[in-house]
């Protein structure tokens, strides 16, 4: 983690402080733990859950927060089926949050907490250094004082905590990059092996020109994609190696993993760090723990050794 953070600091020219919980403090407790850093002056701070993806409109969100002048802002997103979430209800004709309804049975609204917040440091006075839920304990208290506003997120939003959603979220994010003509995407006119677009390949990855990649593929730094490989709707992480003629769809290939020649990997297969799949295997919907080698058929049965 520290190495990745160091790299990120250099990449973006920012300081990153890693505040480590020695015991799990819930969703609010960690803010109290970092009180000295977050409360060192009066400037507001962002709080982000790392397992969501969206267009991240931080500047507009900050402007919104500064404009209303209250203690906190929550990004909210509209969902089709609000009954599975905590719904945010605002006062009529206002962005001030009136109440939260957890998993509503009756329709009260379809805007849910998107997991991205902005607070003034004064909110820290409401949080004790103990396991605390920001959603259940802190938000209701702030909104009771009419100090909490909801900001409507435009565009896509996805909780990417599960592999299936991670892949869907990746597709949404890549589509967003395509829509905004992002230079991060690999240009199909320059690379004949890109098929159907929404393909993001790190410049340090090696892709054989006879491979066929896309749509909706992310290939990380140092990854190697061999001749005749076919990739669709998948994420190949740093330094992974996909060997000749392999076929991968709707799967996550973990860091430093190897997928053998003529393998077929599909159906939300997740390979952990340093997994090796031997040549010619069919891996269907398996979750393979880090550092494992898979050499037996049928791989879909053998490596259902899913850990936590």
């Amino acid at each position: 983690m520290v190495a990745v953070l160091k790299e990120t600091e250099e990449q973006f020219g920012i300081n990153i402080t890693f505040s480590v919980e020695t015991e799990p403090l819930g969703t609010a407790g960690p803010l109290a733990l970092a009180r000295d850093i977050l409360g060192k002056d009066d400037t507001p701070f962002f709080v982000l859950n790392s397992d969501v993806t969206c267009t991240y409109p931080f500047e507009q969100f900050r402007d919104f927060h500064v404009a209303h002048g209250c203690e906190g802002s929550i990004m909210v997103t509209k969902v089709a089926e609000p009954s599975a979430f905590g719904v945010v209800v605002t006062k009529p004709g206002s962005s001030i949050i009136d109440r939260f309804v957890e998993k509503p049975v009756e329709f009260v609204g379809n805007r849910i907490n998107a997991g991205i917040y902005m607070f003034n440091p004064s909110v820290l006075d409401r949080i004790e250094l103990r396991p605390t839920s920001i959603e259940k304990e802190i938000f209701p208290a702030v909104s009771a004082d009419h100090q909490l506003h909801a900001y409507d997120l435009q565009g896509f939003w996805m909780d990417v905590g599960q592999p299936k959603d991670y892949l869907s979220g990746t597709c949404l994010y890549l589509s967003h990059l395509t829509a905004t003509r992002s230079p991060l995407l690999t240009d199909p006119s320059q690379n004949k092996w890109v098929y159907g677009g929404n393909v993001m390949v790190d410049p340090t990855a090696e892709v054989d020109p006879t491979a066929l990649i896309g749509p909706n593929v992310v290939i990380g730094p140092g990854a190697k994609i061999g001749p005749g490989v076919r990739l669709q709707r998948c994420v190949v992480m740093n330094n992974a190696n996909v060997r000749d003629h392999a076929w991968i769809m709707s799967s996550i290939i973990g860091w430093n993993s190897t997928v053998g020649r003529w393998c077929r990997v599909e159906n939300i297969t997740v390979l952990g760090d340093d997994v090796s799949i031997k040549d010619e295997l069919y891996v269907n919907g398996a979750s393979v723990l880090p550092h494992k080698s898979v050499s037996i058929w049928p791989a879909d049965l053998v490596c259902r050794t899913q850990g936590s």
């Binding site: 006879t210 001749p227 005749g228 076919r230 000749d244 003629h245 076929w247 020649r261 003529w262 077929r264 599909e266 010619e280 069919y282 269907n284 058929w297 049928p298």
Partner: protein, 390 residues
């Protein structure tokens, strides 16, 4: 006195057809080639109840390949049982008969006929059968032989017993004296007599070689067994053709390497992992990888980057770019699209229940681009286009 040969091919049923390519040759070619190796044998009869047309082309080709043999197909119009069929055609078989080889077509074996003949000539029995030793757990699936190891005399024969009695089983290869026909006649009479005594019993005209003839032969101490230590397996279901093909291909590496495709050499030609049989008319791209245990039939096309192993690919089939076919039988004129996959499971040597997970595609099946078939124990008999078959 002439030595003659009979190959029993049976008739239309779930069992694989006698022309299914195994080790690059039709199943029935292997017993025929074994008979051709017996110097004094010049007459071969193929007995079964398939239509004549099915056998015509094969017999024409076989006559060219084995010019010293006269080969005829004797067609039964209804099932008479293995012994009944032989008796029915006695007028064709008996003239000038010395000894008669009887070979089942649905087994895979090195057919050690010369050894069988040596032993036969050393005893005064009516027949000598080839026995093979199988794992104890599987023995009750076959005809079981209890014998006296010193004299090789069969003491007891029982077809598919409920409990284990012996691991030496009937390999489906026999050599009989002319007097065999008298024994069949006697067995028929016995059967008729039983039928007359039991007017309510089931009547049929079927006389089975194993239960109706071998059992009394063994009881009369007229049957001997030659124990073969060489490879053997039954080809009871189409799926067993893949492991049987592997056995024959391995056998050819020792006995007839010219039949096989040479392993790949540096720079040039596709990667070949022996043993592999590739028909001269097949086209294999230099970037493809073939083997082990593969036979590619006439006019098969294997495109760049394709992979085939442990498989029988029948004539006219195309395997497109980057496709992968393993543990499967692909019928005539199939098309496997780019990045297509046809996958079975390898045979588990520890599995005693005879489970085979070979995928079988029948004639003219299309596996569309990037689709995948993993269909153990299923046969696709229809054409299928642009869909995932599960």
């Amino acid at each position: 006195m002439a030595t003659k040969g009979v190959i029993l091919i049976g008739g239309p049923s779930k069992a694989p057809k006698p022309l299914l390519p195994i080790g690059g040759k039709p199943m029935i070619w292997h017993p025929l080639a074994a008979l051709a190796r017996i110097p004094e044998l010049t007459e071969v009869f193929i007995v079964g109840f398939y239509e004549d047309a099915l056998m015509t082309d094969f017999i024409r080709g076989a006559k060219r390949e084995f010019p010293k043999l006269s080969i005829s197909y004797l067609r039964e119009y209804r099932s008479l049982g293995t012994a009944g069929g032989l008796y029915h055609f006695r007028d064709s078989l008996l003239p000038n008969l010395g000894m008669l080889f009887v070979l089942n077509a649905d087994i895979c074996s090195s057919f050690p006929l010369a050894e069988l003949m040596d032993m036969h000539q050393k005893h005064r029995g009516v027949g000598t059968m080839m026995g093979v030793t199988v794992p104890k757990e599987t023995a009750t699936r076959y005809g079981c032989i209890v014998h006296d190891p010193a004299s090789a005399q069969v003491l007891h024969y029982v077809e598919k017993p409920e409990k284990w009695i012996s691991s030496l089983i009937n390999g489906g290869v026999y050599l009989f004296d002319k007097s065999f026909f008298d024994e069949v006649k006697a067995a028929m009479d016995t059967k008729e007599k039983h039928a007359a005594e039991d007017p309510f019993g089931e009547r049929d005209d079927i006389l089975r070689l194993e239960q109706d003839v071998l059992v009394p032969l063994a009881a009369g101490r007229k049957l001997f067994v030659y124990e073969s230590k060489d490879f053997w397996r039954q080809i009871k279901r189409a799926g067993s053709a893949v492991p049987a093909s592997a056995l024959y291909l391995n056998h050819f590496t020792k006995t007839n390497p010219k039949l096989l495709t040479a392993p790949s050499k540096e720079g040039g030609g596709p990667t070949i992992i022996a043993p592999v049989y590739i028909d001269p008319s097949a086209e294999v791209d230099p970037s493809a990888k073939i083997g082990p245990n593969v036979s590619l039939g006439a006019n098969v096309v294997v495109a760049p980057g394709a992979r085939v192993r442990d498989a029988i690919i029948m004539e006219g089939t195309t395997i497109d770019k980057h496709a992968c076919v393993q543990n499967s039988i692909v019928g005539k004129h199939c098309k496997i699209g780019p990045w297509g996959r046809v996958d079975g499971a390898p045979e588990d040597p520890m599995d005693t229940k005879n489970n085979l997970n070979i995928t079988i595609l029948a004639t003219e099946v299309t596996v569309a681009k990037e689709t995948c078939i993993v269909l153990p124990n299923k046969t696709l008999n229809r054409s299928a286009h642009d869909q995932v078959l599960l």
